[in-house]
């Protein structure tokens, strides 16, 4: 367990060395947030309420979503694991007395923790400076929001781990990543809030794993509690279930991949 704490710490420190990239990412997130918020404001000017969202909810959604861009990494970056599989460096990794899944999970959580501090907070603060945002006034709600952020990051990792691991069979996981990074933002509610979809569609998308990275955390933050089962606990339970399923799948794929490498020499 100690080794994974150490990997988490190294992941965090490692990403803290990329100062220019971090500043650029904050800038991009803020600009994209401003554009997206302006478009939604125009829309909500025409219709003050859409499926439970008002204009303030919509703008808050945009900036929470932008703040999740770093930790949940819905639109990438892909895990370095993908590149290591392609180049064969994975052999070095497999020789470590450590679980590859847990190793990369700790590494990515280190990265996520860094991006929360260095990207999410400034991005959200910038949004709050420009627009009136809906902030929870109940401290418990902030705690739920923190929990939902952690789970969103876990799911974001699990997705990218599965994409990367597809490289064991496809040799190059770039195609898989490209397609998923195109579709995921739509399904997640990153590009536009899922409430803008017709309610039956939104209700289906909301319980899928992509929504658990953005739409569900945003609704927890906004206090919407639309997830079946009600309350923030229901939302977090849904996220936790998806995290468990996807990470379990990751463990399964890892075992298969190791067997493939070791037995077939792939």
């Amino acid at each position: 367990m100690r080794v994974y704490c150490a990997v988490f710490a190294l992941g965090l420190r490692r990403y803290s060395t990329y100062r220019a990239a971090t500043a650029a990412a904050v800038f991009t997130n803020v600009v994209f947030g401003l554009i997206n918020a302006s478009v939604l404001l125009a829309l909500f000017h025409a219709r003050p309420e859409i499926n439970g969202y008002d204009a303030t909810d919509a703008v808050t959604h945009v900036f929470v979503a932008q703040a999740l861009m770093g930790p949940a990494a819905v639109m990438g970056p892909p895990l370095e694991l993908a590149e290591r599989i392609r180049t064969g460096e994975i052999a070095v990794d497999l020789m470590r007395p450590a679980s590859p899944l847990a190793w990369w999970l700790s590494h990515d959580m280190g990265r996520a923790a860094f991006t929360v501090a260095a990207r999410s907070v400034p991005t959200f603060a910038a949004g709050a400076l420009v627009f009136p945002l809906a902030l929870p006034d109940d401290p418990a709600r902030w705690a739920w929001a923190a929990g939902t952020l952690v789970l969103a990051s876990l799911i974001g990792f699990a997705f990218r781990y599965l994409y990367a691991a597809s490289g064991f069979w496809l040799l190059d996981a770039k195609g898989v990543s490209a397609v998923s990074h195109l579709l995921a933002p739509v399904f997640a509610g990153m590009l536009i809030p899922l409430v803008l979809f017709p309610p039956p569609v939104a209700d289906v998308l909301r319980v899928l794993p992509w929504a658990a990275m953005v739409q569900v955390p945003v609704e927890v933050f906004l206090g919407k509690d639309t997830v079946p089962g009600g309350g923030p606990a229901g939302a977090l339970a849904l996220q936790a279930a998806w995290a468990a399923v996807l990470l379990g799948l990751g463990a399964l794929v890892t075992a298969r991949a190791e067997r493939r490498v070791v037995v077939q020499g792939g």
């Binding site: 100690r2 150490a6 490692r14 070095v92 020789m95 470590r96 020499g265």
Partner: protein, 336 residues
């Protein structure tokens, strides 16, 4: 390595590596997509050898001879199809993680270090990875820092290190858990003469003082000459030679060369039993075919000689001849 504590007794009484009839085949697909044919290639075919504790063994072979396949089987990254393999008493593919705790691995062309962080951070991580007690870790790190002169760049991000520095870092990372067996895959590839010398001297010392068993693959025969009392040559998946370096020379005798410095430049020396292969000013190189003493006497009779030296064939030449399946060698092999 010098150590204040007595080193742990070698846990395995038996061989460190015991391979018998080891074999591994791969199925490869060839040809265009629609008319693809499958073919089985025996990458390693019936290789048998034992490595005893404290040996330093060079594992040589041309590209594609089966070197990497053997190495992968030894460290448990590949399951053998045939034969029996034990490393430190374990079956590598089955006990890869347990085995990893007792072997150190360095791939010359890959690194285990964290690219963007100071070397120190990567080295600190191995303590947790191999569960080394903090005091042991600190002591070994101090020793290795001293021996490999890591001090000046311990706090430098790995990406800024020279290749030689990075390799010393990788070696340290592989040795901090005090492995019984060190497996090196081309440890000096791409290094300059000084860096190579540093690494070779270090490995020789590690082997002599610590008794660490070393198995190394290399294309650099300087590594072999400096480090390996024993050499194994693999070719086409089979062991072509297993023995000491001198034996390898005897087995594949190349021509010796007589270097003659004449008093002044002149036409090629022509004497029976030798052939002039190169001329440069007053210096000429003669490939010896007959008795060296007679050739030297003959040269001295015909020309005014300032100096004479006889050069032994380099190990490069010997191994190249072995790879090429030299006719003379094949004849010498006939009995086996």
């Amino acid at each position: 390595m010098p150590s204040s504590e007595p080193s742990a007794p070698a846990p395995a009484e038996g061989p460190v590596i015991d391979a018998r009839g080891l074999g591994r085949s791969f199925t490869v697909s060839e040809g265009p997509l629609l008319r693809r044919r499958r073919r089985t290639v025996d990458a390693v075919d019936g290789v048998a050898f034992r490595v005893r504790p404290g040996e330093t063994v060079g594992y040589l072979g041309p590209n594609g001879a089966g070197k990497s396949t053997t190495m992968k089987m030894l460290i448990g990254l590949l399951t053998p199809d045939r034969g029996r393999l034990r490393v430190l008493g374990m079956e590598p593919a089955r006990h890869r993680t347990r085995l990893a705790a007792r072997i150190g691995i360095v791939f010359g062309q890959r690194t285990t270090l964290w690219w963007d962080l100071p070397l120190r951070d990567s080295l600190a991580l191995t303590r947790h990875l191999y569960r080394v007690p903090p005091r042991d870790h600190a002591r070994r790190l101090a020793e290795l820092t001293d021996l490999l002169e890591l001090g000046p760049f311990l706090h430098t991000p790995v990406r800024q290190l020279s290749l030689g520095q990075r390799m010393r870092g990788d070696l340290t990372a592989a040795l901090l858990h005090d492995p019984d067996l060190l497996v090196l895959d081309e440890p000096t590839i791409g290094l300059d003469v000084v860096s190579k010398a540093t690494i070779r001297a270090f490995l020789a010392r590690l082997n002599a003082e610590r008794g660490t068993t070393i198995l190394l693959t290399t294309h650099d025969l300087g590594d072999v000459e400096r480090l390996c009392r024993r050499v194994m040559v693999i070719d086409h998946g089979r062991l072509a030679y297993d023995g000491d370096l001198a034996g390898l020379r005897d087995r594949a005798p190349g021509p010796r060369t007589l270097v003659v410095d004449l008093a002044e430049p002149g036409p090629p020396v022509e004497v029976p039993g030798a052939r002039c292969v190169r001329r440069q000013g007053p210096r000429q190189w003669l490939e010896l075919e007959g008795n060296p003493a007679e050739v030297i006497a003959e040269v001295a009779r015909n020309r005014q000689v300032a100096d004479l030296t006889v050069q032994e064939p380099g190990i490069e030449g010997v191994v190249a001849r072995l790879y090429q399946g030299d006719a003379a060698l094949a004849a010498a092999d006939g009995g086996e």
